[in-house]
């Protein structure tokens, strides 16, 4: 089975956001595989171990994103492809999906996995967009995946409810939290990953028109939310605090 995983390198979720010159600063930031994509990598490795075949991890990003591919390969993925995003100045979900589709069109695949969203932009667009460009079905926010021959069975999280869905390969699925517990790369895994094949592509290597590289949306402003001031810690007997709180919520905050 040929398994593809699209992933993005993102800030660690414990990072604070600092804005410098209207841009989000990357100074001193720890980068990780987007946590939702990490579920996709883990699931892909399990599928490969069960059905045989190969896991290829793909990313579009700057040079540092190579590290995310190496981590995925240390977990067990077989090879990586990175598309340098240097010439993708105004990229958005429209153009990233176009780039991924251009890479994947030349590959053999049975299933494509990815996270349902990235924890940075959080737009949840690229998976479904990519499936549409490749003219294959997709199922988003899955929490369980079983493949038997050509038949695909998934459990899909629908805002708390669960749908049991059947479909067929080839398909694209996006991972929701709860799909699995991603493994930590082992030391031998990390050593092996260094020797695994990693293909570096430039935008010029892909069959894309200039206007497909230009995003359809523009960012006008980046800003931080107003800093929240610490509120009131209530004092006194617990019973009185509870009464006071209920009174404050009703009469001061007026939310009850």
């Amino acid at each position: 089975m040929n398994i593809l995983v699209c992933l993005k390198q993102t800030f660690d979720t414990e990072e604070r956001i600092v804005i410098e010159d209207g841009q989000i600063s990357e100074d001193g930031v720890e980068f990780v595989i987007n946590p939702y994509d990490e579920y996709a990598v883990e699931e892909a490795i399990r599928l490969r171990d069960e059905h045989g075949g190969e896991v290829t991890v793909i990313t579009v990003g700057p040079e540092r994103a190579e590290q995310a591919l190496r981590t995925a390969m240390a977990m067990g993925a077989d090879k990586g492809i990175i598309v340098d995003d240097e010439d993708l100045e105004n990229a958005d979900e429209y153009s990233i999906a176009k780039v991924l589709a251009a890479v994947i069109e030349d590959l053999d695949y049975d299933i494509i996995l990815g996270g349902y969203m990235a924890v940075d932009d959080g737009s949840a667009q690229v998976g479904p967009r990519l499936a549409e460009l490749l003219e294959i079905p997709h199922i988003s926010t899955i929490t369980k995946l079983t493949i038997d021959g050509e038949t695909v069975e998934v459990e899909k999280d629908v805002e708390g409810d669960v749908e049991y869905i059947q479909s067929k390969l080839p398909i694209l699925v996006t991972a929701q939290q709860g799909l699995n517990d991603p493994r930590y790369p082992s030391l031998p895994g990390i050593m092996k990953a260094k020797k695994k094949p990693l293909e570096r592509l430039d935008i010029d290597d892909l069959d894309l028109d200039e206007d497909e590289l230009e995003g359809k949306t523009e960012t006008l402003e980046v800003f931080l939310p107003p800093e929240k001031e610490a509120g009131r810690i209530l004092e006194g007997e617990l019973e009185d605090q509870v009464k006071e709180l209920v009174d404050l919520l009703r009469n001061e905050a007026k939310v009850i």
Partner: protein, 328 residues
């Protein structure tokens, strides 16, 4: 300049979701005198017409095909695309929900459109429609616009207030027949299991009572559920509580998990890790209950009680019961 706006209605368990009324309010704002059309899919659509028109729809397009009663990407995609071709909107809005965020990117890809997802605010500015949306789960925000052509966006529930119902309004209703070619619906929903708590959806709840590691066990969520029940709210959790298996991951609030913006967020036994704060700090009012007076959660809370949640929460439930009964 006036614009024709199309809103995709979101129906869950046969009921119109609030986010659709919120989308109609946003639509009215950006239409600037243009027509606001709501599209409703499935056999129950007719029952929603009145509510849609009272909340801003000038026109309602019904597609009563029963194959649309259960959401599937392909059936919704084909129908949505045909409605768009029929209405030729200049702006398209949907909720950023299981439906809207699943079908909208596919439509955008097919039609070669930009899409601004998960917006919390929309305004008209110098002829442009400008959307505000959180990034890094609300640690920062961006203002975005579509460069040219059709404007397409999904809106986060609970952020743009719905219009007051105007019962004098009535919409023009049209029916559209859509047929699905054999094999054109490539996924089959075999079963749906309702797990969401008591019908109050976490992302749309006005009150969220949330538990962290301090809840200590699955049973420990019981008092939180009682409090949520009294307040008509939903129960949520921190990653710590989910990782410790006290509750299902579908309850997790944070940068991974759900982002919520209720009127009232009550954090019980939650320390306030930065990744959790990202998921709830834009709530209107935050109450923290924690044994540790140094807990980070108190830095974002409007009101705090330092104490054992197993003591405080049941007392709070009783007090709310009393007060809410008195005021009935």
């Amino acid at each position: 300049m006036s614009k024709n706006v199309l809103v995709l209605a979101d129906i869950r368990d046969g009921e119109l979701r609030n986010v659709t009324l919120e989308s109609l309010a946003a639509a009215t704002r950006v239409a600037d005198g243009g027509a606001v059309t709501a599209a409703v899919f499935g056999s129950k659509g007719k029952e929603t017409v009145e509510k849609l028109s009272h909340h801003g729809a000038d026109k309602v397009v019904l597609v009563p095909n029963p194959k649309l009663d259960q959401y599937t990407t392909d059936a919704y995609f084909q129908t949505f695309k045909q409605v768009i071709e029929k209405v030729s909107p200049e702006v398209i809005l949907t909720g950023h929900t299981a439906v809207g965020r699943d079908v909208s990117p596919r439509i955008a890809a097919r039609l070669g459109l930009g899409l601004v997802s998960d917006c919390t605010e929309v305004e008209r500015k110098e002829g442009k429609i400008v959307f505000t949306r959180p990034i890094y789960a609300g640690k920062a925000f961006v203002k975005k616009a579509v460069r040219e052509g059709t404007v397409f966006a999904t809106l986060r529930p609970n952020n743009i207030p719905a219009l007051e119902a105007d019962t004098s309004r009535s919409a023009v209703v049209e029916e559209l027949e859509v047929e699905f070619a054999e094999d054109s619906i490539r996924t089959l929903v075999k079963e749906v299991v309702r797990k969401a708590s008591e019908g109050v959806d976490l992302s749309e709840a006005r009150v969220v009572v949330s538990g962290g590691r301090g809840v200590k066990s699955a049973e420990g969520f019981q008092p939180l559920e009682e409090l949520a029940g009294v307040l008509g709210g939903a129960v949520g959790a921190s990653r710590g509580a989910c990782d410790a298996d006290y509750c299902d991951y579908s309850l997790q609030i944070g940068q991974t998990g759900k982002v919520v913006t209720p009127d009232l967020y009550i954090a019980c036994g939650i320390s306030g890790a930065i990744q959790h704060l990202a998921g709830m700090s834009n709530s209107k009012v935050i109450v923290a209950i924690n044994k540790d007076p140094e807990a980070n959660i108190f830095n974002v809370a409007d009101y705090g009680i330092v104490g054992d949640l197993f003591e405080v929460v049941p007392m709070l439930t009783e007090e709310f019961k009393k007060v809410l009964v008195e005021n009935k």
